[in-house]
C-alpha cells in the first residue's frame, strides 16, 4: 500500500539515541535507538507514558536537542536547516511565552524572525485569537496560550507541524476547541506529528499511531489496527488442570488472540474476538466459570507499552 514517494521522507530517524547525565551521575537513555520514517502528508500520533522519551524524540526533530548517536533528518535536511527554511514548526508543551506582552505583539515578534511568513492578522484569526489580540499573555488561560503557540507555529506555513501534548492540562471544552481549530486549519497537505496522553485524540485525528515506551518504539501501525487491539476484551475461565500448557499454546496460535496467560488453572485471554474465544473455551476446551470483560483503552495501552519487545507489525513490515 505504500505508494512510492518522490523526494525525501518528512521525518527520518535512524537509530536515534539520546543519553542524559542524571543528577545522580548515571547515564539515562531517554531515547534508546529509534527508527522512524514518516512520509509527507501523514498524520501520526505518538503515544507513551510519561518519561517514555516522546518529548526528547520531538525535540530531536526540531533541532532543539541533538542525538547522542544516530541520525535525524527532516525533509532530507538537518532539523535546524528545516527550521531555518520554515519547513517545520511546533507547538511545544513547555514552549515559554513572554508574559508581559500582548497576543498580537507575540505573533509580531516571532513573525519578524522569518524572512517570509503568513500575515500576522490572518494567523491570529486562524487560531481563533482575534478577540484576544490585545490581551496580555499573562491574562490568557492555558487553552488560549496554547492557541497562541499554535498561531506561532502557523507563521512559517510549515510542511511539518509537530505538536507536543498540545492539550495537556486543558479541560474538555478547551481541548475540543483546540482540535476544532486544528481541523479548521485544513491540516490537509501538512505532515503532522503529535504526542498525546489522550488515546481518543489519537483515534480521532491520526491515521497512524506510534507507541513509545522506555525510549523505544513498542508499536507502530495504522490507528485502526492499534485500536482493534486496544479495544480487545479479556476472556477468563477455569481449565481442566492437566491441560493448561497445551491449551495456552493452542490459544496463542489463534489469530484473534493478542495475549494468553495462565494463573494456576485459570486462563486469561486478551482477544479481538471474545465470542470466538468464549465458544472455543466452553466447547472443545472444556473450560468453566467463564467471564468476559471489556478492556479499556487505557489498559490496552498499558499492556502494550509495558512489554517493550512486543511490536505490532505494520502492513509494510508484513509485506516484506
Amino acid at each position: 500500500m505504500d505508494s512510492p514517494t518522490t523526494g525525501p521522507a518528512a521525518v527520518a530517524l535512524s537509530r536515534a539515541v539520546k543519553t542524559f547525565q542524571s543528577p545522580g551521575g548515571e547515564l539515562v537513555r531517554a531515547v534508546d535507538g529509534i527508527d522512524l520514517a514518516i512520509s509527507p502528508g501523514e498524520v501520526v500520533a505518538v503515544l507513551g507514558p510519561n518519561g517514555a522519551g516522546k518529548t526528547t524524540c520531538l525535540d530531536m526533530l526540531l533541532g532543539l536537542t541533538c542525538p547522542s548517536a544516530g541520525t535525524v533528518a527532516v525533509f532530507g535536511a538537518s532539523p535546524r536547516q528545516a527550521v531555518r527554511a520554515g519547513r517545520v514548526s511546533a507547538v511545544l508543551q513547555t514552549g515559554g511565552l513572554l508574559r508581559d506582552i500582548t497576543v498580537r505583539e507575540t505573533v509580531q515578534m516571532i513573525a519578524s524572525t522569518f524572512a517570509e511568513h503568513a500575515e500576522v492578522e490572518e494567523v491570529i484569526d486562524r487560531a481563533g485569537l482575534s478577540p484576544l489580540a490585545r490581551r496580555q499573555v499573562s491574562k490568557c488561560s492555558g487553552g488560549e496560550q496554547q492557541r497562541l503557540r499554535f498561531a506561532l507555529a502557523l507563521l512559517p506555513d510549515p510542511d511539518l507541524l509537530v505538536l507536543d501534548e498540545p492539550t495537556a492540562g486543558m479541560d474538555v471544552t478547551a481541548r475540543r476547541q483546540f482540535w476544532d481549530t486544528m481541523r479548521a486549519d485544513s491540516v490537509a497537505g501538512r505532515t503532522v506529528v503529535f504526542a498525546t496522553h489522550y488515546l481518543e485524540e489519537a483515534d480521532a485525528f491520526a491515521a497512524r499511531i506510534v507507541m513509545i515506551a522506555g525510549g523505544r518504539i513498542v508499536a507502530d501501525g495504522p490507528t485502526a489496527h492499534i485500536r482493534s487491539q486496544a479495544t480487545g476484551r479479556t476472556v477468563s475461565a477455569d481449565l481442566p488442570p492437566a491441560e493448561a500448557a497445551q491449551v495456552l499454546a493452542l490459544l496463542r496460535s489463534r489469530p484473534h488472540v493478542i495475549e494468553a496467560a495462565t494463573q494456576g488453572s485459570r486462563v486469561t485471554v486478551t482477544t479481538t474476538d471474545s465470542d470466538a474465544a468464549a465458544r472455543e473455551l466452553l466447547g472443545e476446551l472444556g473450560a468453566s466459570n467463564l467471564e468476559i470483560a471489556s478492556g479499556s483503552l487505557e489498559s490496552a495501552f498499558v499492556s502494550i507499552t509495558a512489554a517493550p519487545d512486543r511490536r505490532v507489525r505494520t502492513e509494510q513490515e508484513v509485506a516484506r
Binding site: V83, L92, L97
Partner: protein, 253 residues
C-alpha cells in the same frame, strides 16, 4: 538586525513602570537630593563642580541598573521556555544577544539622558568635552553589567534573579565609591569592587584622576590604568562566569 523585534523588546521594558522607576526615576531623585540640592554642589570638582560629579555617578548607577536588569531578564526568559520558542525560528543565538545588547544600551540611555538633562537645569558645570565623554563612557561601560545581570539570571534561574542583580548593585555602588566619597581603608577596598573602575572612568574627563578626600581635605591622584584594569578584569570575570554557566545549562539539557 530586526527592527520589529528590537522595537517590541524596547517597548516592553519601557512599559514596565516598576523597573523604569528603579532605572530612571530613583537615580534622578538621588541626583536631585545628593547633587543639586546639597550645599557644596557648586563647589569645584576637577574641571567642573560637585553637582556634575554626582550627576555622572547617578547616571552610571541608573545605567548599570538598566543593563543588569535586561541581562538578568534575558537569561531567565530563555530558561523559562522562551528560548525553546525562539529555537523554532531562524533567529540565531548571536542575533538574539545582539538585539538584547541594543535594547540594553538604549534603555541605559534613558537614565543618562534624564539625569544629564536635570544636570543642565540645576547648574552642573564642566567642560563640554567632559559632558559628552562621560556620557559615552557611562553608556559603553554599562554594557559590562549586562553580563553581570546575565550571570545572576543563569545562576538563579528565576525572576528573583533580576531583583538580586539590581539589589546587589546598590551595595556595590556604596562599596564602589558611587553614592558617597569613600576614604582610607574603604577606598582602598573599593578599588577592587566592580563598580569602582567603571564610575572612576566615567568621572575621569571631569576629575582627570584627582580624588578629593572628604575627611582630611587632601587631594590624591590616581593614574588612568587603575580604573581601566578594574573594568577589564571584572569584564573578563563576568564573561567567564557567564560562559561557564551557559555550558553548565547546556549539559543539563
Amino acid at each position: 538586525m530586526n527592527a520589529t523585534f528590537t522595537g517590541l523588546e524596547l517597548r516592553r521594558v519601557c512599559r514596565d513602570y516598576v523597573s523604569m522607576f528603579f532605572i530612571a526615576v530613583l537615580p534622578a531623585f538621588f541626583y536631585l537630593i545628593f547633587g543639586a540640592a546639597q550645599g557644596p554642589s557648586s563647589e569645584d570638582a576637577g574641571n567642573g563642580n560637585v553637582a556634575m560629579y554626582v550627576m555622572i555617578s547617578m547616571a552610571a548607577y541608573g545605567a548599570v541598573t538598566a543593563t543588569a536588569g535586561i541581562g538578568g531578564m534575558a537569561a531567565v526568559e530563555r530558561m523559562q521556555g522562551w528560548g525553546r520558542q525562539l529555537g523554532l525560528t531562524p533567529l540565531p543565538d548571536s542575533g538574539y544577544v545582539f538585539m538584547k545588547a541594543i535594547v540594553a544600551v538604549a534603555v541605559a540611555a534613558i537614565p543618562i539622558t534624564l539625569i544629564y538633562l536635570l544636570g543642565v537645569l540645576t547648574d552642573a558645570e564642566g567642560p563640554v568635552g567632559a559632558w559628552l565623554l562621560s556620557a559615552l563612557i557611562v553608556l559603553a561601560g554599562a554594557a559590562v553589567f549586562a553580563l553581570y545581570g546575565l550571570v545572576f539570571g543563569l545562576a538563579l534561574r528565576s525572576e528573583a534573579a533580576v531583583g538580586a542583580a539590581s539589589g546587589s548593585l546598590v551595595i556595590l555602588a556604596f562599596m564602589g565609591n558611587i553614592f558617597f566619597p569613600l576614604s582610607g581603608i574603604l577606598l582602598t577596598l573599593a578599588k577592587f569592587t566592580p563598580l569602582y573602575g567603571y564610575v572612576s572612568l566615567a568621572r575621569y574627563p571631569l576629575t582627570e584622576g584627582y580624588l578629593f578626600n572628604v575627611s582630611d581635605g587632601t587631594v590624591t591622584h590616581e593614574p588612568l590604568w587603575v580604573p581601566v584594569v578594574n573594568v577589564s578584569v571584572w569584564a573578563v570575570i563576568f564573561a567567564l562566569l557567564a560562559t561557564w554557566l551557559v555550558r553548565r545549562g547546556r549539559a543539563r539539557q
